[in-house]
């Protein structure tokens, strides 16, 4: 299962996903820089990513809790999500995401 992650400097990395893990955990486990300060509790917004347009339907909508937490993210776009709120599954195999600056800096 693959996840394709674009860093804030534009470099693209293909990393191994794992069903049942969150996107944040997969990115962190691959050693890519993602602050994820609250460890996935939807309490910090420092796991902010942009979902590639093609994958927006597959990832579904933000929950109300996530919507509120995204208020603390910077440079929010329509495709902004918190990576700790997306669980990896077969249907997301090959998903492309881009790290937001506030998830790294």
């Amino acid at each position: 299962m693959k996840v394709i992650v674009t860093g804030i400097d534009g470099t693209v990395k293909e990393i191994e996903g794992k069903a049942g893990w969150t996107l944040m955990e997969i990115i962190r486990d691959a050693g890519m820089p993602i602050k994820a300060e609250c460890g996935g509790a939807c309490a910090c917004a420092t796991c902010h990513v942009y979902i590639d347009d093609e994958w927006l339907d597959a990832t579904g909508a933000r929950s109300e809790e996530e919507e509120d937490m995204i208020d603390l993210a910077l440079e929010v776009e329509d495709n902004s999500r918190l990576a700790c709120q997306i669980e990896m599954s077969e249907s997301l195999d090959g998903i492309r995401v881009k790290l937001a600056r506030d998830a790294v800096l």
């Binding site: 602050k35 300060e37 609250c38 309490a43 420092t46 208020d71 910077l74 929010v76 506030d102």
Partner: protein
């Protein structure tokens, strides 16, 4: 308390759960402590990130929230009368000729102690800054991440960015003194308390406040003085809002901060320690809790508590040289019970 001088046995940087429990372990050994935290209250991550969320792995406490854990720790250490310095950043550390340490905060408070305990967790909580070009040049006089004195904003045209409680509370509190307030937020919905949202919308409807659904784009002005904030709206494109002041409220993030310059060995922003005393590469400076690293380290509250207990034994040797330390249980020692104020 600018310029205040204090002397104590141990100065603890960080009033998170681990710093708080260290007060207890030090107190049992008769050592006094001062704590410094940039936050305005105790509890570190537990209070800032998850006050309402449950914790299940504190021994003998089947469930408590982050705030409850903090409150209970505060109760447990009360008898030891720790001194707290909140909203202060531990900034500079110097060694004195008599081997004691002098720690100075960004507010000019100096604390002299024989032992320094760094319980700084994930780092100091500092405001998230928007990524705007030239931001630094405006930070001296036009961009602020907190409001210390309302009067400083009298007559100003203020842009407030964000949708949380800080953003809306300050929009409402500054409204009576400001010339004009514009709230800028990326959506027409807010995480802030519904009552504040309603109060804001009423002012906007009356024309007494502005609200733009937009994102910060760039800052404009000269010599550090802001003249306008450009925002980007999905419907209206770029809009220039005349402004003297920008208050961005996007919550906090953790940064190691000045501890990086204390002259300690660091490994990926963590402080390597031994597992007997939890001492750093510099003697009489200890590191406990999330900020330290050693083989097998787990970032758990329970581990930080254990680290504090062992650290206290070693701190005692520095603070009371030549004195023998007796191993005692709180259950049976009248000496410990006296210190705890239960006897």
């Amino acid at each position: 308390m600018t310029g205040a001088q204090h002397e104590t046995d141990v100065v603890i940087i960080g009033a998170g759960p681990v710093g708080l429990f260290a007060v207890f372990e030090l107190g049992l050994l008769g050592l006094k402590a001062h704590l410094i935290d940039i936050l305005d209250r105790p509890g570190g991550q537990c209070a800032e990130l998850y006050p309402e969320k449950p914790i299940y792995d504190i021994p003998a406490v089947p469930m408590c929230t982050g705030q409850e854990l903090t409150d209970r720790l505060m109760e447990q250490i009360k008898a030891f009368e720790p001194t707290f310095h909140f909203q202060e950043m531990a900034e500079r550390l110097e060694k004195l000729p008599d081997d004691r340490w002098k720690l100075t905060t960004d507010q000019g408070v100096a604390i002299t102690a024989r032992v320094v305990v760094i319980a700084a967790g994930g780092g100091s909580f500092v405001p998230k800054k928007p990524h705007l070009e030239g931001l630094e040049q405006f930070e001296a006089g036009s961009v602020f991440y907190a409001v210390r004195k309302i009067d400083a904003f009298r007559g100003k045209r203020i842009v407030i960015a964000g949708g949380g409680d800080s953003a809306l509370d300050w929009a409402l509190n500054l409204h009576p003194v400001a010339e004009r307030i514009t709230v800028v937020h990326h959506r027409d919905g807010f995480r802030a308390a519904p009552a504040s949202v309603e109060a804001m919308r009423m002012l906007v409807d009356k024309g007494a406040m502005d609200f733009k659904i937009a994102q910060l784009d760039s800052l404009h002005g000269a010599d550090g003085a802001l003249s306008s904030v450009r925002v980007k709206s999905k419907t209206d494109g770029l809009i220039d809002i005349p402004a003297d002041t920008l208050l961005p409220f996007f919550g906090l993030t953790m940064k190691l901060g000045p501890i990086a310059d204390f002259g300690l060995n660091l490994h990926e922003n963590l402080i390597p320690v031994d597992t007997e005393k939890f001492e750093s590469s510099v003697s009489s400076i200890f590191a406990i809790g999330d900020i330290n690293t050693y083989p097998g380290k787990l970032k758990l509250i329970l581990s930080g508590f254990h680290e504090g207990a062992l650290m206290a034994q070693a701190a005692f040797a520095y603070c009371r040289p030549g004195e023998r330390l007796r191993f005692q249980y709180t259950t049976s020692s009248s000496d410990l019970q006296k210190k705890l104020g239960v006897r």
